[in-house]
Amino acid sequence: MTSLPAQPSKKKLGLVVDLDICVGCHACSVNCKEWNTGGHSAPLTDQDAYGANPIGVWFNRVHSYEIVQDTGKSWTVNFPKSCLHCEDAPCVPVCPTGASYKRSEDGIVLINGDYCIGCKLCSWACPYGAREFDEDAGIMKKCTLCIDKIYNENLEPQYRVPSCVSTCPAGARSFGDLGDENSDVSKLVKARGGYDLMPEQGTKPTNKYLPPRPRNAENDANGQQAKLDSVDTSGANVIARWVDKVLSR
């Protein structure tokens, strides 16, 4: 059994993912993979890489769903998912060795690979399926929030953000301190109705999702669709109106 920090950290670093504009391109997944395969939890092993069942370690995966309403109307939602760095992270207390831990200074949930015995209790405990077992190394791995990038003194300050964030083509990802209600990411979450994933699990996730916004309505308040008024039902009559129309260049 491993302890969570006695007091929740004041600083809660996390991600905000905008489902309104995520086009499901997988850029975040792959850029994460290339940074992290040489990073804190390196490597993010790929097994049967060129074979019948290629399967590897990914810290961030994108799922695309079709949602169908009773009316038959449907839409597609692209949903990137990674560790949510929960305040009450269920993956930590179940760890028998102390490998799985939550940083007291910024709330990032990490795994110390040196202590991990590969028992997988943490992945059973995580309701989001956000942990990734490296069969080859025999240990659990997970999103580090790019711990070795966001504070890295060897990088210029502008690059000190998680790789999934800086690479996102649509601008659908934001990063910051969600423990500070005055931070821009907190304001964004508030203004856009950002929500917790599966709040009923009581995990208090740090990461937030911004819901798809209502699409521009097709009908007016009376349920009518707009249309243009023709100036005349006959095309010939419409053209006749233009014979006297003198224009200037």
Binding site: G38, Y50, A99
Partner: protein
Amino acid sequence: MTGFFALGEEKADTSPKVSDEVKTTTCYMCACRCGIRVHLRDGKVRYIEGNPDHPVNKGILCAKGSAGIMQVNSPSRLRKPLLRTGERGSGEFKEIEWEEALSLATEWLGDIRKTDPKKLAFFTGRDQSQSLTGWWAKQFGTMNFAAHGGFCSVNMAAAGLYTIGGSFWEFGEPDWDLTKYFMMFGVAEDHDSNPIKAGIGRLKTRGDAKFVSINPVRTGYSAVADEWVGVRPGTDGLFVFALLHELLKAEKIDFDYLVRYTNAHWLVIDDEGAADHGLFARDKDGNPLCYDGKTKALGDASSADVSPVLAGEYTLEDGRKAVPAFNLMAARYMDEAYNPDTVAATIGIEPATIRRIAAELAEAAFDKEIVLDVEWTDWAGRKQDKMIGRPVAMHAMRGISAHSNGFHTCRGIHLLQMILGTIDVPGGFRHKPPFPRPCPPGPKPAGHTIAPNQPIDGMPLGFPTEPADLLVNKDGSPKRVDKAYSWEFPLSSHGMMHMAIHNAWKGDPYHVDVLFMYMANMSWNSTMNTSGTIKYLTDKNEDGEYKIPKIIYSDAYHSEMVNYSDLILPDTTYLERWDCISLLDRPISSAHGPADSIRQPVIKPDRDVRPFQEVLLDLGVRLGLPGIANEDGTAKYPGGYPDYIANHERMPGVGPLAGWRGIDGDQHGKGDANPKQLEKYIENGCFWSEAFTPEQSYYKHANQSYLNKAHAMGWIPNNKPIVMQIYSEIMQKFRLAAEGHGDIQPPERDRQRVKEYFDPLPMWYAPLEDETLDKKEYPLHALTQRPMHMYHSWGSQNAWLRQITAQNRMFMHSSKAEELNLVDDDWIWVTSHHGKVRCQVKTVEGVNPDTIWTWNAIGKKRGNWGLDKDAPESNKGFLLNHVISELLPAKGEKHRYSNSDPVTGQAAWFDLRVRVDKCTEAEAAENVTWPLFDVTPPLPNMAPSPKTVRYGEDFKSEEHSGKSGGTHMEWVGNRHENATSGTGVRDGYRNSLKEEDK
């Protein structure tokens, strides 16, 4: 919960060493050409990220670009030149030295050049060096050259360049930041992938614009659109004409824009049967005429002082009648044939939807007019105190392009843009330099005469404007092997690569001696009729010689095309080479200003491979090609490709790169060659860009300051305004020839076809396959799309990308699946008039119910691309190409036209009609695709692909850096748009704040 262990908190190293150095270059994981920063450690690639300073991607990088590490380490990389030892297709080769390979190629090519240079057919794929490869073909003396545009986007390019002087992809972009209504036609993960994603993200985050996607399939961009209009494939043109019908009848027309910037007011001669019927009436100096409503007389339509009228019938000096082009156009689309009630069922949507979208377009264009307080001067020297914008932007690509009615449909979209006054205005569609250019730009296609040891008299690809420009013999037969610029496909300005192998095999119009290809998987996913093409490549004459006697191929990877080639010249990967992305070819400019870029080698090849462009120049020296070899036989560019990039001049002062020209490197656009030019590019992040002034930024077709600049830069031949073509006189010239006028007329077989399809106004006709097929027998449309995370066939060798998609399925609407008694993963036969393929089904909601679709280029041949013989790509994944014929269905007569657009020769991939049948239990039990091919053997000395990849384990530092760590940065995606839409977020850009908001 409290625990027992609290020892876990490691001191995670937050500042480990990342790299020894960072080098910039240009991505090549697709055609988007983003700037990248490559972190290198111990000579290996540690990390690739977008370059924030780069004008294309501004720091972002897609899944493909982020997977570059697995591309440059792919086990399928070729290692050394190869010579075929077994039968073609057997996959048996031996390694040879470069000297032997180049000598052999020189011998084969030299024999042709000495006798009949057109017997070389030189075709390249998605490379970005066509200004070099086309020039090489010219210097060699063959007109049989093209790149892949003929089967990709020539309908978009030709329709745009003949109509508005620019085009969608790569020559224009929506005004993402100002548009209020964005319509996207037929775009999946097509070109310009990162700028489109970024643009959509910003546009939607602003929250004040509507985004409508017209596409039979709802994935990716369409999934985040405000409205998805799931039209039946190939009916977009009808939809556009119905919108025009509504707008015209309601007089929602930007009349001023039309008379100022288009030929709407030009008078068209109405004299049925005359040799000039349908051409523009002109004065004795050749100026087009219009009717001046003030003087009540004919006037010079191009004069700034004329007061045009757009409707009526007028009498010319010779007594004949003439009508304004606009009148002809309006009469056509106001006809009841284009009433939404008439066409909606064919399109597969409700008439009310068409009417509403027309109303929304009108509202956005005319009620939400944008006025920018920017002074500018028009082409006539008149000062304007503001820039008016009609904020409707449109973008269209492959879904329009890949139909046999795509040229006219694309012209129809441009017509819609013109009516609304939205081309190159604030909030509209914006040209990227060097466009706009005259409609069409010069020059004409070259290669009318071919002579031994002689270059042809110009570049092989160009833009015909009259029948005399066609490359046809006296009897009207084609001069080019692909039949481009023939009466069958007169405006095929990107060539017709998809027909080259078929025609060379058949000897129609003639056989070739050598087929030389680069980076084009023409025996597999880049060809129609894959099995047939394999037969063409392996078929022999009675004497035992192959019908296509010699095939030279350059590729970096063990693609399927390698199997069917005789001599393989192994290319490098994109991180091991020089390249230039040139204004002479396919530049990286944006609407904000011109730009070009280079690739520099950032890692060294660990194989005996050479960049193709180096090899091409080397061959040019060996063959003694003028401009590449000096008269004494030495190399004109002894430093190879980088030497050529910096020092070659196509015209005086104009070379491959526009930046830092002149001996001192202080000239941009035109200037002498600068020997230190590449160093300047590297210093600047491997690109050059320049920003237009605000006054040059819009109305570029008629903006004096812009036109002067464009002329000075060498982009346009003079600074005259670019007049957009509502009515195409060029089309009418070809139609007149078909009607029996002039010396050069189509052969009888093609006469009716040319007459029908060379309509000077945009027209709609059902996709050509539909004409002959029984729609009850083939009730469904079948399409492909490219997944956002993959591109071409390269994606499947990529250990990371193939984990996202290793098998494609056939997507089908749930209602159709129910009708056919199908559930997910059932095996089905997809049958066309041409053939059949076996695959698995996946039901979805977001697709037009009469359409099925799948991901393109996932299917592989067993044993290629470094993949295991049991890989899902080859055993369950499939190519739809098997059921697409390169020829139209036979209609009784002997001749079968290519399955292409009759105007441009664009391959009509998406005209495909099929039926679906459930496989029998026995068939399904086989649990594999059909056709299933033999396993390709490994190439000599090619190491087996690794089972487990642990890339990056070497980069993990054992020792803690000891550094305590820097400060992280808060980052808000689309910060500016989030700030201005009232979220309370501070304004700025990503992780930097605007000064006043700090």
